[in-house]
């Protein structure tokens, strides 16, 4: 479930040696920031920074770690990501109130997923922060094409693709996040790619 390094760090942590834990969490930071970037409501982009969300998440990790170590019912990264997703949900609720739901999906796919990434608007904002204008123009066409095709997919398909490619989760992790069997997650993923290709080619 966890990689050898993760297992080692967690075993040490259960013996009370938590020194390496920070390094492990830092190693997750890139992927987690990407997740937050993708899922933070565009309206909050100016007000909330991904780093803040992760800061709070890591505090939460420290508090809940003993219980996780006992249960270990999720891969560690998936569990940390889950806490980050929860933080994000709380933030959305706190800042956007109940109206947050009206713009999002009617039904969250999985409590572990976090706010949906149904529109890649978040990705756009993220993009704008990190790129030179010329790159934005050059990438725009490609992104728009993928994005409109993604928007045509079912929610679950889209999320599987976003998790695999944008958040760079492994299939096992996707399965854990979406509460599917690894086999079902794989099947979903392959089919979703094919549907996306179909949507791209048909949408022309």
């Amino acid at each position: 479930m966890n990689s050898p390094i993760e297992t080692e760090v967690l075993e040490a942590a259960s013996r009370g040696e938590t020194q390496q834990l920070g390094a492990l969490l830092e190693a997750y930071r890139g992927r987690l920031e990407r997740m937050v970037g993708l899922r933070l409501d565009p309206k909050l982009q100016g007000r909330v920074d991904a780093a803040d969300v992760l800061q709070e998440t890591f505090i939460e990790v420290a508090q809940r770690l003993p219980r996780y170590l006992e249960a270990q019912d999720l891969p560690f990264f998936v569990w940390v990501r889950y806490l980050a997703a929860q933080k994000l949900m709380q933030l959305h609720r706190a800042h956007l109130g109940v109206g947050a739901r009206a713009v999002g999906r009617e039904v969250p796919l999985s409590p572990r997923l976090g706010p949906d990434a149904s529109s890649l608007a978040a990705a756009d904002v993220y993009l704008a922060h990190s790129e030179t204008p010329s790159r934005v123009v050059a990438a725009g066409e490609e992104r728009e094409r993928v994005r409109s095709a993604l928007d045509e997919l079912g929610d679950l398909d889209r999320e599987v693709l976003v998790l695999r490619h944008f958040e760079q989760l492994s299939n096992t992790e996707v399965a854990a996040v979406l509460e599917l069997s690894p086999g079902a997650a794989s099947a979903r993923y392959v089919r979703a790619l094919q549907r996306l290709e179909h949507a791209v080619s048909r949408g022309a």
Partner: protein, 1296 residues
């Protein structure tokens, strides 16, 4: 070992397709990693290793590449690139990034030694690992360094510093033409504002001035008036100036061509213009020098799609390809838009290959006609129609500028004809493949294409069918439909027709409203379909009335009482009340604090309940139009509300996972259940005895409306459920949601009745009509459909058997068929009405073989305990029986018209019985080597011959008259399960445990042709082929596989055309009915499935006359028989029902079939399990438990058995769930531990042992309790009995 094979079911096999897709995923993951590493995606070697995955990988790959690109532009990649921007490379001081070229990043830099400004092109570091890439980079630099032309950017030199490869070139203070065009389009008001830095803006401004008003290169020196308006004019002067720009480019290209260098990537982005209008070609990134060999290889597609000449897609490039690109540049400069504007790759490829661009003059009438001709000649699809050289293009442009006649003429008829032919090629394939190739930069793509011809079409058809089938299996209707549509008419055989019938099982589409269906209501025989902005009244599939919703409102839900009171809610939290057939919005809406997602009305229409997003429920007095009360209780928003007919209570399901029951008189509430996961839908029957709730978890919980006690759990597809509906008669429940399929259940026996496919998007709403078999549904796609639950095309499941069904025989009339199983019953079905006709009871054990006499009145069955029985079907009575001392009888062979039956026994004996009297007419002992097994041996009789299989894989042919062996052959290497004879009688086919099917001419057994049936699981050790049947037209062979699928083999090609999946475990037998439009298969879980090629519409036409009152009565009785809790009282209860004699007798048979079964089965299971402690046995125990508990909720013994199996298999979660459910059902309390102590009245010791081993969810295994129980069981006072033994066994199981 024998027991294990025979015990049937095995555990639910992993879906083979899923396993394969996992392997596809593995390949795709590898490719993703390569993409992220920046390694080349050399897919072909990878696919060569996995030929069975190639099609899926190819289909998924373009999207994968697209996503990785989007991800890398959206994510941290650019960040890294920016961080990686060097400040100094050798002697070069980097100033800024100018852009990304085809093969690297270009920087503005200062060459410090010379103090000159240069453009420095730098290869991306990760690409330097690729030797080929590096080689090309150097070649580019060498090629470019040999050019010295005013129109070509001069290359100063190249080199490598610290692993960074670069070359330096002339810095052009200018802009690329793509930027220019974008800017001009903006200034023209036809394009968006480009992002510009001040310097670039100044440059573009001045260039625009020169192009529109000035003149280039001293051609025109007249000084016409300057246009003062802000908007540049694209008049004659502009046209002349852009012609000069392209002329310069053509001259430069001609210079390069003369030196043996093709550019191959001419596009506006590679053409730079300075402020004076001088043009420079840059980026010979794809140059192909004649002297350095063809490193890029034929077929290697590089360059930019939009400006690629059609022949470049086929790997051919010559000077005319560059001419073509120059023509497109001219087109773009004249029209300020690309000739091929599509932004979707496959579309773009298609357009480039087959479509003529819009004529420049129809976009801009002011474009000179002759210039348009130049463009059209230069951009001909066919290279031979173009200017043969860049010089010729340059010459024609010069002619035009000089006012001389040009060479370009309109396209020839020959050209147009060829173009038309070219369009008819396999456009989609080409486009899709080209998309992938270009995205990948991978070679050999187009070459692969040209090889794929008719021979591969059949494979493509099979792939399409397989894809459609697996799509349907996961409810992906739209995808299945698309796949099927792609199959040419000529290839639409049984398999296609079957899948086609499954794609839309609805009785018809009611309406297509163009926006998501939000709600449905059934009103006086019509259906009202609510979209977001309008509502549509539909009758007989036609919209008879249509009305807009409230102005400016987006409708969320609507509900109506039978009396005609409507309540409609919108996103803004408003609610409208009205009366009538359609809602009206005249009354002022009530403004509620938040959006109302759950709506319900009391049956008298006096009150409306609205469940709000803010976690409250508002009770509205309809008459007064005021909020009467606000109910608190839920902790999260409220999606589901149901009010039963009594009107006194309301059931509220909230996203907090709780079901609350409100007393509407005082607003008080009770929590009926919790921890159900976010709830989205609630439904209840008329007397509120059952409440169904479902939501995110995908499970449907049936709860007691008064106590909240669990009354059952329905497991659907696992996808979130968002709508539920209960039929007016309270017997049927329909569910829908994220899955595209509707699932319909029998509420009383908790059995799935139907899985209905037809919608191609997720379901939003469901409602029943007046008749409980009429269902309506609406989807996100804006489609509303009608369903007939009694009549479903494509595929149906016939329920009844509760365990393994091995025996299957079709009556001579081709209409009725008999099934017999481990539950010791034989059921006779009528395929036309898809109903049960009769149950034959009195079988002394598990049925393994069945055959009909030619008259259709008699049936012969065999039983694993050694019996052979003769039956009279009409009287449902057994007329004779035979018991063998040794050996297990197999399948039964009866030749058409014959009065005797042949039965092979596993001890090596073949016996012949008289059909009517059971007289033993012959006994051929020692015919083959016997084997101790309970599997049925195959046997078939045709004409004067009988064929039987043996345990060792032999097939023996006997003469019926002489009862002597005619010939025998070792056809298989293992047990022969089934033999069938081809319709023409000249050929037989056999199936075996060795996983092969053999086909042989009847006289030539030794020349059998063996077909290996590819296993559906990894290893596939258990994937034997138990059943086999020819289709009546002889075209197909259906094979029953232990892999859980029916495999259809096309005999003409000996290839598999379709796998029918649906059985959750082994498929035991298979047979075609009548004309072959129906196929029956039986499985080890008691499931009988009918697969057909008949659409719902066709079936309705056929079945309507059959749907008599009697059929309904039978169905009712059947349900009743299953549902009655107390079997003892069933006969009396049935007697009281107004049923005709036939119906009553059928219902009674059903009751008898189930009575007395449970205890013995459970006991047998326990004893067997404790003796043979193998996972397979426990898995079958689990299935047995499932089968029995579906029909008998009070059997705590079976619950325990199931729990024990879960524990034994290490699935503690399942065990806890089973225990919890059981204790809820029996009302003994929630905690398994207390259940162990207080309940388990049947087997308290076993219960306690299990409770100690599992513990509760909170506390874990209870070692102390286990120890105490062990002492009790082994102490002096202990009474040894079977329960004590079981309990001890449980305590002794090793901890996993």
């Amino acid at each position: 070992m024998v027991e294990r094979t025979e015990s049937g079911s095995g555990h639910a096999e992993r879906d083979a397709e899923e396993a394969r897709l996992q392997r596809v995923d593995a390949v795709l993951t590898e490719l993703t990693e390569r993409a992220r590493r920046g390694s080349p995606l050399d897919i072909e070697p990878l696919l060569a290793q996995h030929p069975d995955l190639a099609a899926d990988v190819r289909r998924a790959l373009p999207a994968l590449v697209g996503l990785e690109r989007a991800a890398s532009t959206a994510g941290d990649e650019p960040q890294a690139a920016r961080d990686a921007m060097p400040s100094q490379i050798g002697d070069f001081k980097i100033v800024r990034e100018l852009g990304q070229g085809g093969m690297g990043t270009v920087y503005e830099a200062i060459e410090e030694r010379l103090g000159r400004r240069v453009a420095l092109k730098l290869l991306p570091p990760r690409a330097t690992r690729d030797a080929r890439y590096l080689e090309r980079f150097h070649r580019e630099a060498r090629a470019a360094a040999r050019m010295h032309h005013p129109g070509i950017v001069t290359v100063h030199g190249f080199g490598e510093v610290d692993g960074a490869h670069y070359y330096s070139m002339q810095f052009v203070e200018g802009t690329s033409l793509d930027r220019l065009v974008a800017y001009l389009a903006w200034r023209d008001g036809t394009g968006p504002a480009p992002a510009l830095e001040a310097a670039e803006r100044t440059l573009l401004d001045s260039l625009t001035g020169v192009l529109c008003s000035g003149s280039l290169s001293g051609f025109d020196s007249d000084d016409s008036t300057k246009d003062d308006s802000n908007r540049p004019t694209f008049g004659a002067r502009y046209h002349r100036n852009v012609a000069r720009l392209v002329l310069q480019a053509a001259e430069a290209v001609e210079y390069a061509h003369a030196r043996g260098v093709l550019h191959r990537d001419i596009k506006p982005a590679n053409l730079l213009a300075d402020a004076d209008g001088h043009l420079y070609i840059t980026d010979f990134g794809l140059a192909k020098t004649d002297e350095s060999g063809d490193l890029t290889r034929a077929g290697d597609i590089l360059g930019t799609l939009r400006y690629m000449a059609p022949e470049q897609f086929e790997g051919h490039t010559d000077a005319r390809s560059d001419v073509y690109a120059l023509g497109l540049v001219l087109y773009e400069l004249l029209t300020l838009r690309p000739a091929f504007a599509a932004s979707h790759r496959p579309r773009l490829v298609h357009d480039v290959l087959y479509e003529r661009p819009i004529r420049p003059r129809s976009l801009r009438a002011e474009v000179p006609q002759d210039l348009e001709r130049v463009v059209r000649k230069a951009t001909s699809k066919l290279a031979e129609e173009r200017y043969p050289t860049a010089r010729a293009l340059a010459e024609d442009l010069r002619c035009w500028l000089d006012g001389r006649p040009i060479a370009a003429r309109m396209p020839s008829a020959w050209y147009l004809a060829r173009l038309a032919v070219a369009r008819n090629r396999a456009v989609i394939v080409t486009a899709g493949l080209a998309f992938a190739l270009i995205a990948l930069g991978v070679a050999r793509y187009v070459t692969a294409l040209s090889g794929a011809e008719a021979a591969q079409r059949a494979a493509a058809v099979r792939a399409a069918l397989a894809a459609a089938e697996s799509a349907l299996a996961v409810d992906e209707v739209a995808s299945a439909r698309d796949r099927l549509a792609g199959v040419p008419e000529a290839h639409r055989g049984w398999a296609w027709r079957h899948l086609d019938a499954c794609v839309d099982q609805s009785a018809g589409t009611l309406a297509s409203i163009g926006e998501p269906v939000q709600s449905l209501a059934f009103v006086n025989g019509d259906t009202v379909v609510f979209g977001r902005t309008a509502m549509h009244r539909v009758r007989g599939g036609r919209v008879v009335a249509e009305a807009p919703g409230p102005p400016g409102a987006v409708i969320v839900r609507a509900a109506r009482t039978a009396l005609g009171v409507w309540v409609v809610s919108d996103w803004a939290g408003r609610v409208w009340l009205s009366e009538g057939d359609l809602p009206s919005f005249e009354r002022e809406p009530l403004q509620l604090p938040s959006t109302g997602f759950g709506l319900a009305l009391t049956p008298d229409g006096a009150r409306a309940l609205v469940g709000l997003f803010d976690a409250t429920i508002v009770v509205i007095d309809v008459a007064q139009g005021v909020v009467e009360r606000t109910l608190e209780g839920p902790r999260e928003h409220v999606d589901g509300i149901a009010v039963p007919a009594t009107g006194a209570a309301a059931f509220v399901g909230s996203n907090d996972g709780r079901l609350l029951r409100y007393d509407l008189r005082d607003g008080s509430y009770r929590e009926l259940a919790r921890d159900l996961g976010a709830l989205h839908a609630v439904a209840t029957n008329a007397d509120a005895s059952i409440v169904a709730v479902a939501g995110e978890s995908g499970l449907i919980h049936l709860l007691d409306g008064a106590s909240g006690a669990s009354r059952g759990l329905l497991v659907g597809s696992g996808a979130t459920v968002s709508c539920l509906a209960i039929s007016p008669d309270g017997k049927t429940l329909a569910s829908g949601g994220m899955s595209q399929a509707i699932r319909v259940y029998d509420i009383e026996d908790r059995r799935p009745l139907r899985v209905l496919t037809g919608h191609a998007r997720r379901l939003t709403s469901l409602c029943f009509g007046a008749d409980s078999s009429q269902l309506f549904s609406g989807s996100y796609a804006g489609i509303a459909k009608e369903w007939d639950l009694d009549c479903v095309g494509g595929a149906v499941v016939l329920g009844g058997h509760i365990a393994d069904v091995v025996g299957l025989a079709v009556a001579p009339d081709g209409r009725r068929f008999a099934t017999g199983g481990r539950d010791a019953t034989i059921r006779i079905w009528d395929s036309a009405s898809e109903g049960l006709e009769r149950i034959l009871l009195g079988q002394p054990g598990e049925v393994s073989g069945l055959a009909w006499g030619s008259d259709g009145a008699r049936l012969v069955s065999t039983c694993r305990r050694g019996y052979v029985l003769g039956w009279e079907v009409d009287s449902a009575k057994s007329t004779w029986r035979f018991k063998a001392d040794s050996g297990v009888p197999g399948r039964v062979a009866i030749a058409p018209g014959s009065d005797e039956c042949w039965v092979p026994f596993t001890d090596g004996t073949l016996r012949v019985f008289g059909l009517s009297d059971g007289a033993l007419r012959a006994e051929l002992a020692g015919l083959f080597e016997g084997r101790a097994t309970t599997d049925p041996l195959g046997a078939v009789a045709v004409g004067g011959h009988v064929f039987v299989g043996t345990p060792s894989g032999e097939v023996i042919e006997l003469d019926r008259a002489t009862r002597s062996v005619v010939q025998r052959a070792q056809v298989h290497t293992e047990f022969v399960y089934a033999i069938d004879v081809a319709p023409n009688g000249r050929e037989i086919a056999t199936s075996s445990a060795d996983r092969t099917v053999a086909i042989m001419a009847t006289g030539k057994l030794a020349q059998a042709e063996r077909l290996h049936i590819e296993s559906t699981e990894h290893g596939g050790a258990s994937d034997g082929l138990e059943g086999l049947a020819y289709s009546p037209d002889g075209a197909l062979l259906a094979v029953a596989s232990r892999g859980g699928q029916v495999r259809l083999i096309e005999l003409a090609t000996r290839t598999e055309v379709l796998r029918l999946s649906g059985h959750r475990s082994w498929v035991r037998s298979v047979a075609f009915l009548g004309d072959g439009s129906r196929l029956v298969s039986t499985g080890s879980e008691g499931d009988v499935r009918v697969w057909d090629t008949i659409t719902t519409a066709q079936k309705r036409a056929l079945m309507t006359p059959l749907r008599s009152e009697r059929r309904r009565a039978v169905a009712l009785a059947q349900r009743l028989g299953v549902a009655l809790d107390q079997w003892d009282t069933a006969p009396a209860a049935l007697a009281a029902l107004p049923l005709d004699a036939a119906s009553r007798s059928l219902a009674l048979s059903e009751v008898h079939a189930r009575m007395g079964r449970r205890a013995s089965l459970v006991d047998v299971a326990w004893e067997g399990l404790l003796q043979n402690d193998a996972p397979e046995s426990w898995r079958s125990a689990l299935q047995l438990n499932e089968a029995i508990s579906r029909t008998n909720r009070h059997s705590s013994a079976t619950r325990l058995l199931g729990t024990a199996a879960s524990v034994r298999l290490g699935d503690l979660q399942a065990a806890v769930l089973a225990l919890t459910l059981w204790s809820r059902v029996t009302g003994y309390g929630q905690a398994p531990a207390s259940a162990g102590a207080t309940g388990w009245s049947d087997t308290p010791l076993v219960g306690r042992a299990l409770a100690a081993r599992i513990g509760t969810t909170n506390f874990g295994p209870d070692a102390a309790a286990a120890e105490a129980l062990r002492r009790e069981l082994t102490g002096e006072a202990a009474v040894p009995n079977k329960d004590a033994a079981r309990a001890l066994a449980i305590l002794d199981w090793p901890v996993e």
